[in-house]
Symmetry: C2
Subunit: 512 residues, 2 copies
């Protein structure tokens, strides 16, 4: 058994099901090993950012890694931005990078780059394999690092000679790191504050946004009067009717600060102290005011469900309060703007959809209106590297083929990853892509105004996507995805219904 | 004057004309400075790889840098693979990366990445600015580093507060590094070998492939009987009728080795000892056999024109030989395959075209047939990071608006950078894109066979671009570029003629 075969068999034995790949010459032996072994689905992505974004989406929905397979420095470099998103999402991802034969590394080839440096810059765990005999064990460690809780990015660099040489051994990933038990002292401290103050704000993130801890957090809020907020960029939040209502902490500091300032205490559950995405002239340098006490009920490494359950035990019981269940949203008709757009989506999204949301400035109303939508998993951009939506939707659809996926895609970000449409078509993925075509980098225009600048020639040019207009319908069809453009809200509702009924991907262009 | 204004004014004063940009919030002050200052053309690229590839193409044609402007770690990460190509091409490129305010770097923002580490991994010169007062001087150094000979990649990281703070000072780049004088001892040694041996092989690369040194090299060959070869991946070679005939050193080691082994001496002019792109099982570990003496007439840092002129002085004069001028290639008709394809291109390309060649496996016959084409500049993939063709064509067209650009684009590589088509349309660039649509990663199928593997399910899937078929005509039109598909050689010749006559970009899909 050669090294490549031991790697593939270790992956299969360890429950790896999918490999999002864009291979090159240093990966041909791995391809041959995939040929010889059933159990791993090879999914070709036309750019490596799509590989990484898809693995991110897969990991978020499965809590077990998919593989990416990329080619040397240039191939992996193309993936880095999307790997960064995955890392910030705590998605379990295992990257395999093919490398030159050990005796040809840094040998003057045109492809020479610092592959290990690039890998380390964006991975929680990195290893360069040195021989065929340890490849299986290297992969075992990578999978165990990635699949632990919280999920991590593990990157394994595999020289070509380690693939083709004999002596490979199959290993099995099993000893996976669990979330630690939370610190009882922290729980007691938070309980005391909840008893003493009516102005406690619970900020939930990460693993705390899954079904069970969310329900407990809802109960904590009901018993204590605390307010529930959600981090600004949640990787995966279980949302919709029947789930506790969370408000997302706003993006702009001037909107987030008053909320934080209104609290006596900020209690972090599964997340870190919130930080502004950008520093602006005049500050603030820190979002949380100094007079607000910050407590960590459970860090990202600690079990939020246990922490919340233990917290609940320390709170006085109250007679069950009938929660105000948000009404199912009515479906708007008439002209399309971001409000009617959000309303149609919230009304029409099917039960237990996975909503991959890179809607950017077009998604504000949807984020609120979808509180009353049918239960769904809401996946968001976590690391600020735009272009995550279409790849993530691909990965989520392959992870959960029985669930419909709705990808809300801003046009600017969508143009980063259009080739993901081709993979959606090839895989027959049940993804409905809705392109929010406002033909601008609108967020950047807002930021320019906020900075006190008037849009001149350069800043207009550099934020304009209308010249020429991108024809998303033709673009999607050119890559094998059926597509339509809609003109009003009723039209959108009808197209959504058809798209969810028919198998395979669809794209709907919505002028906004 | 704030820092951003001093940076933009330093750029204008130093002869920078174009900025290929995809900005974000940390770049709004730079955008405002561009608004306030004429002289730099802002060119929006929809992904950062296009920015970098375009700057590469611009630099190759102008020998003076364009700027790229990208956003933090994720933005620059997307550019890295194409920056690598530029670096290998010795293209002068200045990358400006916007960074968080100095007090917000590594502050926990979702966008936190090791920007400086990423920049260093692919740049010859890197600097993180620390204050507004030195921004102008930092850029001066960057331009001088990039614009020296040979060209380099210089990357300047500009924190947002250094942009918006006052105290900027305008500087002027002027002290640019020239190629060094070659070593007379090396020239004498080579002259001695040329007098003694009829089996000397001159391998030209880099700056030696420009007009003047090429003519001298042709004269050296005529006087000495030495054979002229060109490095496998020349950044820019002046070719076609009237220029000395160079054969490119083949890509596969088993084809390059016999050529090298037939020589007594290998003389390097403007390039390094050739190295196989990949190490294969069974070797070879070095391309040049041990019994072939290797001489450097001029390194990449030394002036090849002076070296060749001095060499010529040391060679016995001979009566001028009438060179066999390659015949103008006839234009084939009939069915299209890689031979007729190459023939039509060579026959139809207009005078003094810039041919940006990422034709991969479809371009072999063209490389030979174009020896007899009208004089042209031939730009090639230098660093193995595919997707360079369309961006490089954009940059070359903006560098030389008076010259027609022909982009020979393999479909696999083209799918990496499709959004460059949009920028071609927006800029009205005179680029004729010819897509070699063989619907496969054919090179990878060849490499799989060479490694002794039969294509199974995985390796077929991972090298197949036919399911679904990409409709390049619809794809180009969706991004604003007029496009047609051709069916035979005559059709291709006609479409090429039209495309070169009409202003603005065109795309021609050629099924191969």
């Amino acid at each position: 058994m050669n090294g490549a075969q031991s790697l593939v068999q270790t992956a299969v034995a360890s429950g790896i099901e999918v490999c999002f790949a864009n291979p090159g010459t240093t990966e041909v032996t791995l391809m041959a090993a995939l040929d010889a072994m059933c159990g791993i689905k090879p999914v070709l992505c036309l750019t490596e950012g799509v590989c990484a974004g898809a693995a991110d989406g897969f990991g978020r929905m499965r809590d077990w890694p998919a593989l990416t397979l990329t080619h040397l420095g240039p191939g992996f470099a193309n993936a880095i931005a999307q790997v960064h998103n995955a890392r910030r999402a705590h998605s379990p991802v295992v990257n395999i990078i093919g490398q030159q034969a050990t005796w040809h590394v840094a040998g003057g080839s045109v492809l020479d780059m610092d592959v290990e440096g690039l890998a380390r810059s964006v991975s929680d765990w990195t290893c360069s394999s040195g021989q065929a005999a340890t490849l299986g064990d290297d992969l075992r460690q990578a999978i165990e690092s990635a699949a632990g809780q919280p999920g991590q990015v593990a990157t394994l660099i595999v020289p070509a000679d380690c693939q083709w040489e004999e002596g490979g051994r199959v290993e099995l990933a099993r000893a996976v790191r669990k979330l630690r038990s939370p610190n009882p002292a922290n729980i007691e401290a938070v309980a005391a504050r909840l008893r003493d103050s009516s102005r406690v704000l619970l900020l939930l993130g990460g693993a705390a946004l899954r079904e069970a801890p969310l329900r407990l957090a809802g109960e904590v809020a009901a018993r204590s009067g605390a307010r529930l907020f959600c981090e600004t960029f949640p990787a995966r939040a279980e949302r919709g009717r029947g789930r506790p209502l969370l408000t997302r902490l706003p993006y702009f500091p001037e909107q987030a600060q008053p909320i934080l300032a209104s609290a006596s205490d900020l209690v972090l559950v599964g997340t870190r102290e919130p930080v502004a995405t950008f520093g602006y002239a005049g500050g603030p340098r820190r979002l949380v005011p100094p007079n607000v006490a910050v407590h960590s009920l459970a860090s990202a490494e600690e079990n939020p469900e246990r922490a919340l359950a233990a917290l609940l035990e320390l709170l006085p019981k109250r007679s069950p309060v009938t929660r105000d269940e948000p009404a199912p949203p009515p479906c708007p008709s008439g002209a399309l703007d971001v409000h009617s757009f959000g309303g149609v989506l919230a009304a029409c999204q099917p039960d237990h959809a996975i909503v991959v949301d890179e809607s950017a400035t077009s998604g504000g109303p949807y984020a609120l209106l979808s509180h009353g939508a049918k239960p769904f998993s809401h996946l968001n951009l976590t690391g600020g590297a735009i272009g995550f939506g279409l790849p993530c939707a691909l990965g989520a659809a392959l992870a959960c083929p029985e669930r419909p996926v709705l990808a809300l895609q801003a046009d600017g970000g969508g143009l980063y990853s259009t080739s993901a449409l081709w993979s959606l078509a090839r895989e027959g993925a049940n993804v409905t892509v809705v392109v929010c075509a406002n033909q601008a980098y609108r967020i950047l225009r807002m930021e320019t105004s906020r900075a006190g600048h008037r849009l001149g020639h350069a800043s207009t040019t550099l934020t304009d996507l209308s010249t020429p207009r991108v024809d998303w319908v033709a673009l999607a069809r050119s890559l094998g995805v059926p597509a339509e453009r809609v003109e009003d809200a009723t039209d959108l509702a009808g197209r959504l219904e058809t798209a969810f009924e028919e198998p395979g991907p669809h794209l709907i262009e919505v002028p906004l």
